[in-house]
Amino acid sequence: MTAQTLDAFQVIADPSRRQMMQLLSKDSMTINALAENFDMSRPAVSKHIKIMYNAGFLSITDIGRERYCTLKQDGFSELQDFINYFDKFWAGKLKKLETLLNNKTKGK
């Protein structure tokens, strides 16, 4: 299996993966149980899982013969970091605008 590494936004850009996360937000599930909810091949499901795993959205635990997927916080934190980045970006820019306008008034 190719181990694709995508950033957090790319991971959630795919509707199937978002749906998988929503299912997993209720409870841990085996890959097989998860696959039953989707009209795609088992390898295709595994590939999505691998992508989410690589980006820190879930952990995989082997119990007996089954592989269980559980949501993990890391991926979601990365999404929030991104929003947080923009938050600071705008705050910084607005501060700059304020300084600019104030200086302009003083210069009059």
Binding site: F9, A13, R18, Q22, D87, L94, E98
Partner: protein
């Protein structure tokens, strides 16, 4: 989960003056980014610094409201995500209250707004987001 960015800022200048700084490329460049913005609905433009934000003007109400779509590159390659920036200018007695909302992060909303919601295992994330919001 935090899905949008909101800022409210007060300026001692009247809305007309603040509006100029939101709509004139030569002024935008001084505090935001280099841009080929024009206050015309449907106009496609860019904000350019290290990354490029691809934008389209959605709404122009002179001195009152301005909004545009904002497609930025995501971190590791060039697949952009969609979002929206809305500026609202509220005239005040001795100046202007400028409100900024940056939201509509399409994929994020789809993930969070789902009726299933997020259960207790996300409590920690929720708390994290609330901290960011304050």
């Amino acid at each position: 989960m935090k899905k949008e960015i909101k800022h409210t800022w007060f300026f001692h200048q009247p809305p007309q003056e603040v509006w100029e700084y939101l709509t004139k490329p030569e002024l935008l460049e001084q505090w935001l980014m280099k841009t080929d913005f024009q206050p015309i609905v449907g106009h496609k433009f860019r904000f350019i610094c290290n990354n490029i934000a691809w934008c389209e003007v959605l709404e122009v109400k002179p001195f009152t409201k301005l909004s545009y779509s904002w497609q930025a590159d995501s971190a590791s390659d060039n697949k952009p995500f969609n979002s929206k920036v809305v500026w609202t200018l509220v005239p005040k007695e001795n100046g202007t209250e400028l409100q900024l909302v940056h939201n509509g992060f399409t994929v994020l909303e789809d993930l969070v707004n789902h009726e299933n919601g997020w259960n207790a295992c996300f409590k920690q994330i929720e708390e994290l987001l609330n901290t960011i919001k304050q």
